[in-house]
C-alpha cells in the first residue's frame, strides 16, 4: 500500500522542529541551535561594537570628556570580553553547529541535547555578564583581568565577580561544545569520508575543539582561584600572604594564547571553503594545510609567556618563548601560500564571499607580521602595552576572524535561509569595512611607536597623538556604517520571498546537496563519498576527483 510505504520510508522528524517560539526554545536540532548562536553572537557583536564606538569617540580628541575614567575602564573591559567570548567564539561555534553535521553527511551532532545546553549556558553567561552594568558596575580590570588588581582589595565592587562567574559559564559551554564536535567528527562521518576527505572547515573545527579541551581548563583554574580569593578569602594571588601575582598571568595566558588560535582556526577553515569554490579549483596542498593547523595548535601551547616579556623572567625563558613565537609563523605562512596558490590560475568569481576571504588573507598577513615584530624581545619591551599591540590584535581578529566570518555569512546565507544576501549591499559593506578598518587600526602602529599606552581614557594635547586618534575614530565610524549595511541587508533579504536555491555557488561539498534550508533530518539518504569534493563528483561525473588517478 502506498500510504504505508510512505509512512515507513519518511524519516521521523525530531521534536522541537515545528513552528512557534516554544519549538525554538525546546529544539535540539543543530541547525536551529546554530542559527540561535549566530543571531545571539551578532547581537553581542553589535553591542561590543557600540562599546568600541564609545571608546573611539572619547579618544578622538585630547582631554575629551565623553566618558569618565571609571566608565572607560568598564567599557574597554566589556568590549574585549564581549568580542572574544560572546561574539567571535560563538560565531565560529554557530557555523560549526550548523555546517559540521551537514558537511560530513550526518543527521545531527553526536549529543544533540548537550548541544542545546551549550547554547543556553552561553546565552545565560552573556546576559549575566551584561547585567553587571545594571547591578553595581561592570568589570573594569581588562578582559585578561590581571591579579592582584582584580583582588577584592582593589576591585571593590562586584564587577569582577560577574566576570569570573560568566567566564566559568562560558568556558563550560565551550568545553561541552568542543566535546560534541570532537565526538561528532570521529564517529558520524558518512561512508567513504575518511579523514583525508573531510572538508577543511570540519578539520579546523575539530583541531580547534581539541585545543579548547586542553586550554580552557587553565582558565577555569585561574578563575576559580580568583573567585576563591575574592569570595572566600584565600590568598592565591596575594603576595603578602604567600601567593603569587605571576601565577595568574601564567595560568591565564596558558589558556589565552591557544585561545587566539581557537578564534582564528575556524575562520581559516571557513575561507578555505570559500576560496576554492570562488576560484573553481580545489584547495592547494590540502593535507599540508591540515597539518599546519595541527602544528599551530601544538606550538600555541608553547608560546604563552610572550604576553609576559616585561615581567622580569630569566633570559633563557624569554629566548625560548621568543624563538617559538617565530617558529609558529611558519605553519601560518604555509596556509597563506596555500590560499594564494589556490587562487593562482583559478577562474576568480569576485562575489562578496571571495572579497571578504581575500580581505582576510591581506589583513591577517599584516597582523601576523606585527606578531613577528613583537616576538623580538627588545622591540616588545618598547611597544608592549602600547597601541602597537592593539593594532596587532585587531588586524588578526577583526581583519582576520571577523572578515572570515562575514565571508562565511555571505557564502552560507542561501543555505540557511533560502535567500541570497544582496551583492550590492555586500560589496558596499566590504569596502566600508576594509577602508574603515585600515583607517582605524593602521595608525595605531604609529601611535604605539610614539608611546601611546593602551587602556588610557584620554591623553594630553601636543603629543602628536591627536591627529592619528581622530583618523582612527573616523575609520571606526566607517566600519560601523559597514555593519549597518549588513544589518539592512539582512532584514531586507529576510523580508523578501525565498528562492530556495540548493546550490547557488556551484559548490563542492555535501551541505549544498541538502535543500535550502535543509529538512530537519538533513539528508533522506546518508550520502556516500568518494573524494574530497563529493558534490562536484556528482555534478560533473566526467571530471570527478576520484577519477583523477586516485
Amino acid at each position: 500500500m502506498t500510504t504505508q510505504a510512505e509512512a515507513l520510508s519518511a524519516p521521523q522528524v525530531a521534536a522541537g522542529s515545528g513552528q512557534g517560539l516554544l519549538s525554538w526554545v525546546m529544539t535540539v536540532d543543530h541547525k536551529r541551535i546554530g542559527i540561535m548562536y549566530l543571531i545571539t553572537a551578532t547581537v553581542f557583536f553589535v553591542a561590543g561594537g557600540i562599546l568600541a564606538l564609545l571608546m573611539r569617540t572619547q579618544l578622538a580628541q585630547p582631554n575629551a570628556t565623553v566618558l569618565s575614567n571609571a566608565a572607560y575602564n568598564e567599557i574597554f573591559t566589556m568590549h574585549g570580553t564581549t568580542m572574544i567570548f560572546l561574539a567571535i567564539m560563538p560565531l565560529g561555534a554557530g557555523f560549526g553547529n550548523y555546517f559540521v553535521p551537514l558537511m560530513i553527511g550526518a543527521r545531527d551532532m553526536a549529543f544533540p541535547k548537550l548541544n542545546a545546553l551549550s547554547y543556553w549556558l552561553y546565552l545565560f553567561g552573556g546576559l549575566f555578564l551584561f547585567s553587571s552594568f545594571v547591578f553595581g558596575g561592570a568589570p573594569d580590570a581588562g578582559w585578561f583581568a590581571y591579579a592582584p588588581l582584580t583582588e577584592k582589595l582593589y576591585s571593590i565592587n562586584h564587577g569582577m565577580d560577574y566576570w569570573g562567574l560568566s567566564v566559568l559559564m562560558l568556558g563550560t559551554a565551550t568545553t561541552i561544545g568542543s566535546i560534541n564536535f570532537v565526538v561528532t567528527t570521529i564517529q558520524l562521518r558518512a561512508p567513504g569520508m575518511s579523514f583525508t576527505r573531510m572538508p577543511m572547515f570540519v578539520w579546523m573545527t575539530f583541531v580547534t575543539s581539541v585545543i579548547a579541551i586542553f586550554a580552557l581548563p587553565s582558565l577555569t583554574t585561574a578563575t576559580l582561584l580568583l573567585l576563591l580569593d575574592r569570595l572566600v578569602g584565600t590568598h592565591f594571588y596575594n603576595v603578602s600572604a604567600g601567593g603569587s601575582a605571576l601565577l595568574w598571568q601564567h595560568l591565564f595566558w596558558f589558556f589565552g594564547h591557544p585561545e587566539v588560535y581557537i578564534m582564528i582556526l575556524p575562520a581559516m577553515g571557513l575561507i578555505s571553503e570559500v576560496i576554492p569554490v570562488f576560484s573553481r579549483k580545489p584547495l592547494f596542498g590540502f593535507m599540508t594545510v591540515v597539518y599546519s593547523g595541527i602544528a599551530i595548535g601544538i606550538l600555541g601551547f608553547t608560546v604563552w609567556a610572550h604576553h609576559m616579556f616585561a615581567t622580569g623572567m630569566a633570559i633563557g625563558a624569554l629566548l625560548f618563548f621568543s624563538a617559538n613565537s617565530f617558529i609558529i609563523g611558519v605553519p601560518t605562512g604555509v596556509k597563506i601560500f596555500s590560499w594564494l596558490a589556490t587562487m593562482w590560475g583559478g577562474k576568480l568569481n569576485f562575489k562578496t564571499p571571495l572579497l571578504f576571504a581575500i580581505g582576510f588573507v591581506a589583513l591577517f598577513t599584516i597582523g601576523g607580521l606585527d606578531g613577528v615584530h613583537m616576538a623580538v624581545l627588545p622591540v616588545d619591551w618598547q611597544i608592549t602595552d602600547t597601541y602597537y599591540v592593539v593594532s596587532h590584535i585587531h588586524y588578526v581578529l577583526f581583519g582576520g576572524a571577523i572578515f572570515g566570518l562575514f565571508s562565511a555569512m555571505f557564502y552560507w546565507f542561501p543555505k540557511m535561509s533560502g535567500r541570497r544576501l544582496s551583492e550590492t549591499l555586500g560589496k558596499w559593506q566590504f569596502w566600508l569595512m576594509f577602508v574603515g578598518m585600515n583607517l582605524t587600526f593602521f595608525p595605531m602602529h604609529m601611535l604605539g611607536l610614539l608611546g601611546m599606552p593602551r587602556r588610557i581614557y584620554t591623553y594630553a594635547d601636543g603629543l602628536g597623538w591627536g591627529i592619528w586618534n581622530l583618523i582612527e575614530t573616523v575609520g571606526a565610524y566607517l566600519v560601523a556604517l559597514g555593519i549597518l549595511f549588513f544589518l539592512i541587508n539582512f532584514f531586507r533579504t529576510m523580508a523578501s520571498p525565498p528562492t530556495n536555491e540548493a546550490d547557488p555557488w556551484d559548490a563542492f561539498t555535501l551541505e549544498w546537496k541538502a535543500a535550502s534550508p535543509p529538512a530537519p533530518y538533513n539528508f533522506a539518504e546518508i550520502p556516500s563519498v568518494r573524494s574530497r569534493r563529493p558534490l562536484w563528483d556528482e555534478k560533473y561525473p566526467d571530471k570527478a576527483d576520484w577519477k583523477q588517478g586516485e
Partner: protein, 191 residues
C-alpha cells in the same frame, strides 16, 4: 553511488559514549594538571612548605585512605570482569562496594582536613591544599552519583554480558578519579 571503504587499519573507538567520556576525562585531566601546576608554582616560592610537617595528623590517615581508594579501583575492575562473564549479582555487589569505599574515602578526607587545623584564608598554602582536595572530592562525588545510578540500573537488570557500556564508562571515570588522587597524594603528602 557506491561507497568506497574507509581505511582498514583505522582506529575504531567502539561507541560514541566511550569517545565522549574519554574526551571529558581528557579535559578534566588538564584541569587537575593546571591546578597542580599552580600548587607547584606557589611551592617554588616557599621551600618551607612540605607535608606532613604542615599537617598535625601526619601521613597515617591519608595513606590508609589512599590504600582504600586504590582498593576501590580493584573492586570496580572486578565489576567489569563480572558483567563481561554475565555474573550479574557479582557485578552489582562490586558496584555497591565501590560506592561504599568511595564514601569512606570522602569521610576520611573530611576527617583529616578538619584535624589539620588548616583554614582556606590562612595563607596561600591552606588555600591551595584545600582547593585541590575539594576539587578532587567534587569529582569523586560526581563519580559516586554515576556509580549510584549504575548500581540501581544493575539491580533493575539493565546489564548483561553483551550490554554493559554504562558499567565500562563508570569504571573508566572511577579509574580517572583514583589516578588523580594518586598524583595529588604524591604531590601534597609525599614530595
Amino acid at each position: 553511488m557506491t561507497a568506497s571503504t574507509a581505511s582498514p587499519a583505522r582506529f575504531r573507538p567502539g561507541s560514541t559514549a566511550k569517545v565522549g567520556l574519554l574526551t571529558i576525562i581528557a579535559s578534566e585531566i588538564f584541569f587537575f594538571a593546571t591546578a597542580l601546576s599552580a600548587y607547584f608554582f606557589l611551592r617554588l616560592e616557599h621551600p618551607e612548605w612540605s607535608l606532613p610537617a604542615q599537617t598535625p595528623t601526619g601521613l597515617l590517615v591519608p595513606s590508609l585512605n589512599t590504600l582504600l581508594f586504590l582498593a576501590s579501583a580493584l573492586v570496580i575492575w572486578q565489576a567489569q570482569r563480572a558483567i563481561a562473564a554475565d555474573r550479574r549479582r557479582a557485578a552489582q555487589m562490586a558496584l555497591g562496594l565501590t560506592f561504599v569505599l568511595g564514601l569512606i574515602f570522602i569521610g576520611g578526607q573530611v576527617f583529616d582536613f578538619s584535624q589539620s587545623g588548616l583554614k582556606p584564608d590562612d595563607a596561600a598554602f591552606g588555600g591551595i591544599f584545600m582547593a585541590l582536595i575539594a576539587f578532587h572530592a567534587l569529582h569523586v562525588l560526581a563519580g559516586m552519583i554515576y556509580l549510584g545510578i549504575t548500581f540501581a540500573r544493575a539491580r533493575l537488570g539493565d546489564f548483561s554480558a553483551d550490554r554493559h557500556t554504562s558499567i565500562t564508562l563508570c569504571a573508566w571515570f572511577w579509574y580517572f578519579v583514583v589516578a588523580v588522587w594518586l598524583a595529588l597524594f604524591g604531590a601534597l603528602y609525599l614530595v
